[in-house]
């Protein structure tokens, strides 16, 4: 699934709702859906505020399903991030005057299983996030299977 849209803030809701609808195929729990929506919202907001600094540009959202894992790739052709490690730090923000909390990447990292950030200054930023759906249940099944084997 792939979406391309203008870096307008009203598209933040559109992006998270669309990805959530796509993820629904994996039959996630309400909590898993909320986690995905929140992570997508953070990444898309970053493209708009930081990548394009509220100028017009295109945001790309690509989502892929691999068995019970959803992979979401969110990218922009904006200014890029100079120091990715610094940007990942909780509470770090370059936009404190806009009442940004600096929690974007922290939320993505805690709500998804894996978060990769690829960024080149002047070229753009790509965030790849993965989440395994129905983790607990499949682990339970694994345990049951193991118990049977043993």
């Amino acid at each position: 699934m792939e979406l391309n849209f203008l870096s307008k803030s009203n598209n933040e809701a559109f992006a998270r709702i669309t990805v959530a609808a796509f993820a629904a195929q994996l039959d996630p729990t309400i909590e898993e859906i909320a986690d995905i929506k929140t992570a997508v919202s953070e990444a898309v907001t970053n493209c708009i505020i930081h990548g394009y600094e509220n100028e017009e540009g295109m945001v790309k959202v690509k989502a892929t399903l691999m068995q019970n894992i959803i992979e979401i790739e969110i990218s922009d052709n904006g200014i890029g991030i100079e120091d990715v490690e610094l940007a990942r730090k909780p509470l770090y923000t370059t936009k404190g005057n806009l009442e940004r909390s600096g929690m974007g990447f922290t939320i993505m990292e805690s709500f998804m299983d894996e978060v990769e950030i690829h960024s080149v200054v002047g070229i753009g930023t790509k965030v790849i996030m993965r989440k395994k759906i129905k983790k607990e249940e499949s682990e339970e099944i694994d345990e049951k299977e193991n118990a049977l084997i043993n």
Binding site: E31, K37, T45, E99, M103
Partner: protein, 107 residues
């Protein structure tokens, strides 16, 4: 968003009715700041019963309003926070300055 000011107790209630993200916070912020400076309440209550979604933009919004309320000598609290929103709030530590009021038990 709707608001209600209780003159007797000097409490300002905000009933937020929209999803809270970067797009919606601008409008909510303007309205809240207008009401806070107009009523100068001793306490502000953020009611989340009709909020189905909130991302980190909400944290910035809450901290910003808290600072304003504190400036006029007031305090703030939150109520009717659902599980998913609580997860975002707890991660940020905002609950330490704006406590979540426990839900009233029925019966």
């Amino acid at each position: 968003m709707e608001s209600k000011f209780d003159e007797t107790d000097n409490i300002l209630d905000f009933y937020i009715t929209e999803e809270i993200d970067h797009h919606t916070t601008e409008k909510i912020r303007r309205k809240m700041d207008y009401e806070i400076t107009r009523f100068m309440p001793r306490k502000v209550v953020f009611d989340f019963s009709n909020v189905s979604f909130m991302d980190s933009a909400g944290i910035g919004l809450l901290i910003g309003r808290y600072k304003l309320v504190k400036l006029i000598g007031g305090s703030a609290e939150m109520k009717n926070v659902n599980k998913n929103i609580a997860k975002v709030l707890e991660m940020s530590g905002v609950v330490k300055i704006i406590p979540i009021k426990p839900n009233k038990k029925v019966g």
